[in-house]
Symmetry: C2
Subunit: 231 residues, 2 copies
Amino acid sequence: MNVTPIKKAVVLLSGGLDSATTLAVALSKGYQCHAMSFDYSQRHRHELISAGNIARAAGVPHRTVRIDFCAAGASALTSDIDVPKTGTENEIPVTYVPARNTIFLSHALAWAELLEAGNIFIGVNAVDYSGYPDCRPEYITAFEVMANLALKAAVEGKLRIRIHTPLISMSKKEIIEKGTVLGVNYSLTHSCYDPLPEGIACGECDSCRLRKKGFTAAGITDPAVYAPGAK
Amino acid sequence: MNVTPIKKAVVLLSGGLDSATTLAVALSKGYQCHAMSFDYSQRHRHELISAGNIARAAGVPHRTVRIDFCAAGASALTSDIDVPKTGTENEIPVTYVPARNTIFLSHALAWAELLEAGNIFIGVNAVDYSGYPDCRPEYITAFEVMANLALKAAVEGKLRIRIHTPLISMSKKEIIEKGTVLGVNYSLTHSCYDPLPEGIACGECDSCRLRKKGFTAAGITDPAVYAPGAK
């Protein structure tokens, strides 16, 4: 009798479109997934409700880690700096959060070692993205190298950490098409950086713009609820 | 007129002997230091009182970051697993905490970018140490490579992150001698992994053993208060 070994994975789940699709991809490849979200007092904490709903819909265990974030003042997502609403130029925008993915992946690494999971999935994307440096393939590769030198289980040869980035070279259109095929319920996802109180998307921030453009390009109706009058 | 540029640094300060010496080394080299400690519900949280006292004595700003640590159950320092008292064999001991230095350095990275500090000091040591993989030079080098790909300021050429490990190839004896020359008040430091309620050192854990051995070898009196009857 052939017994397929369990492939365990930690999946970073922000509650957005990309991470929901990443979770669906990981599940479709047979990984036993453990979803992980972060409460870093982000302006769009509404995404954590979405993350919980997505994990529940997928039937996977989910934990939210509270981050005491010391560089909050540096980003529009964690301070009073205005979120840009007129598109971003060819530079890294003020929504950049210092070392965010490094902190997130570090916590994922600790959980992965505890779970004896050799796989971490993260929905970073280097095509239709905001230009954040910690979403690029060279960063991810460097993190993976570091991770395998950091963990006891890796050094002892019991675990090899692999950081999976299934979306990294896909356009937003392709991500939405892929997720739709895999049955992702995008009405559960939240993308907006600057939502109205009930989580209604502003429709104008960088994240909303990329989302809307992706759905339009895919010819699929975006189920997000946008603020009245959003451009 | 020559103006020496300010060299800013984030210094990881656990409150132990090594990190207190590291802070003294960084200050002696002219760095403007910002000390950082972590409350990860460690068994030896008493060390945080020491960290505060050391930072105050050195006159440097200090912040303690609360870590919601998801792999707590895996380590004797963060769970009910007994701290070994009979010395450790040639293996990584149960006091190992998954991804601890990676999480700590990630937070330091965020603070460094906010402060525009290109330097991070960490008191890791690969001679008289517990065998933790994230104290080795190859790990530190890999973290530094990753860090310079992660940060906006690094990618834009405004900051280059350097991880300084001034103690990495020193014996405990040499560390104590160095700190003594620099005027470190070791009575403020706390090393024990398993202290009695008032922070009195057990005298028998791995960390107490390394400390006592170092002071003896240096011919300097250890100002730590040990539990009566400690071997």
